[in-house]
Amino acid sequence: MENKDTNWEPKIIAFLCNWCSYAGADLAGVSRLQYPANIRVIRVPCSGRISPFFILSSLQNGADGVLVSGCHPGDCHYLTGNYSARRKFALLKSQLENIGIEEGRVQFSWVSASEGGKFAEVIKKVTETVKALGPAKRLVKRCL
């Protein structure tokens, strides 16, 4: 995990909602859009499904960054899942920054099924930010 080699590439976990962002990622793929290969996608039924535990466990187990993406407000397949998620994420992000996790490690966005281009942009931006921050050290669980 140490940043010894100069070719270090961040590992980013992306939680994508099944109905919008995952389809958006698919569209980016079939449209042959280029974006960094640093993300590991985990498909979830809805952004409201994501427990803060998922995000914290990712960081604890060696992810350098976490991205959560769901349907735009109003477009949720389950009508209100992303609205509830938005309140939850606002608090989680603020708490993580409060305790001293670098701003930008955990990010949230809305990507619809038709926004393949936006998906590629989001991944580029997140990868850039996490790369600039360097390897995650603060919440990682290590053997003593």
């Binding site: 803060p52 535990f53 914290l56 604890q60 407000p73 109003g74 209100t80 609205y83 509830s84 938005r86 309140r87 939850k88 994420f89 606002a90 608090l91 989680l92 992000k93 603020s94 708490q95 993580l96 920054e97 409060n98 305790i99 001293g100 996790i101 670098e102 701003e103 990010q107 949230f108 966005s109 809305w110 936006k118 942009e121 989001v122 931006k125 997140v126 603060r138 919440l139 990682v140 669980k141 003593l144």
Partner: protein, 317 residues
């Protein structure tokens, strides 16, 4: 304080006599100076045990969840705020409880007094209005109560009970403080400084879960730290596992924490748990314009939403 005690006794006696309550939850004299112990009074003869002083810090609403029958409870501002939340979350029925509200003037932090006495043994404490006269073998000091309040009491803006059936004494004057200065100050520090502070605090934690057990709103029958299938949080007292426990507890209490300070009082190793909970309270106020425990009809912030909630925290693309 003495007259408050006697009015509380009278009221408790009345309730037990009329059968309006089967048990009264209040405070009795502790076995050590600077202490008051929660007690359960079931018959009129025991009513004389009840006391009220500046050491009645514990949040008695914690006992309501498991109480059976009709319960009378002596409650100060923070206790009633917790009761409001418990009723809202359907853990307690309003009809089941009789609230004897007592306006509070801030509770005195035993640990701060002991620090001032530099470890000398304290044998007696006398109440002299604004001061406490503390005596011991090598000790004879007067301490101003205001200077030794719990950190939570210092910034409390709801000292009077928000909901009660009977009010004892007259309402206290509410403090007009900017309640979140501590949060703003901490926010002003750099990420490194904050991390250093938090990890230092967390390193003290022995994961006894006293904070959780004392918290009136931590009533889950099975807490996330106790489950093994799935195991949400590692069981070690290592930095990240402990920190995860505290982060998740603060998230679970976001919009529910009434800032009674029970967690901090219960902590045997003085971890600054409020740093996390206060941040959540400040955010809930700022983002969702919600203050916990004041309005029984207002839904909890994380159980509801508005279509136009703030999206400032999201990626701007």
């Amino acid at each position: 304080m003495a007259d408050l005690s006697s009015s509380i006794r009278e009221e408790a006696k009345k309730l037990l006599k009329k059968g309006e309550a089967d048990v009264i939850i209040g405070f009795e004299k502790g076995s050590l100076p600077l202490c008051a112990t929660p007690c359960f009074i079931r018959n009129e003869a025991d009513v004389e045990k009840l006391i009220w002083n500046e050491f009645c810090g514990n949040n008695l609403s914690r006992y309501l969840i498991k109480a059976k029958g009709k319960v009378g409870i002596i409650a100060k501002g923070c206790d009633t705020r917790a009761i409001v939340e418990l009723i809202k979350e359907k853990q307690v029925q309003r009809e089941q409880i009789v609230i004897i509200g007592v306006p509070c003037e801030g509770m005195v932090d035993r640990k701060q007094i002991m620090m001032r006495c530099q470890g000398n043994k304290i044998t007696n404490v006398e109440d002299r209005d604004e001061r406490l006269l503390i005596t011991g073998d090598l000790l004879n000091v007067a301490v101003k109560k205001d200077e030794c309040l719990y950190p939570g009491c210092q910034v409390c803006t709801n000292r009077n009970p928000v909901m009660y059936d009977v009010l004892i004494g007259s309402t206290s004057e509410e403090q007009q403080t900017d309640e979140f200065t501590d949060v703003t100050n901490f926010d002003g520090k750099s990420s490194e400084e904050r991390w250093e502070y938090i990890t230092h605090e967390i390193s003290k934690c022995i994961r006894c879960y006293a904070c959780r057990n004392a918290c009136p709103l931590c009533y889950c029958k099975e807490c996330f730290v106790d489950t093994t299938q799935p195991q949400w949080v590692g069981k070690t007292t290592g930095q990240t596992d402990t920190l995860l426990f505290h982060i998740m507890r603060s998230i679970h209490l976001a919009g529910r924490c009434v800032e009674c300070g029970a967690c901090e009082r219960a902590c045997p190793v003085t971890v600054d748990i409020r740093k996390l909970n206060r941040k959540m309270s400040a955010d809930v106020k700022k983002l969702f314009d919600y203050k916990t425990g004041l309005d029984i009809d207002q839904p909890a912030p994380l159980s509801t939403f508005k279509p136009d909630d703030s999206e400032e925290f999201m990626l701007d693309i």
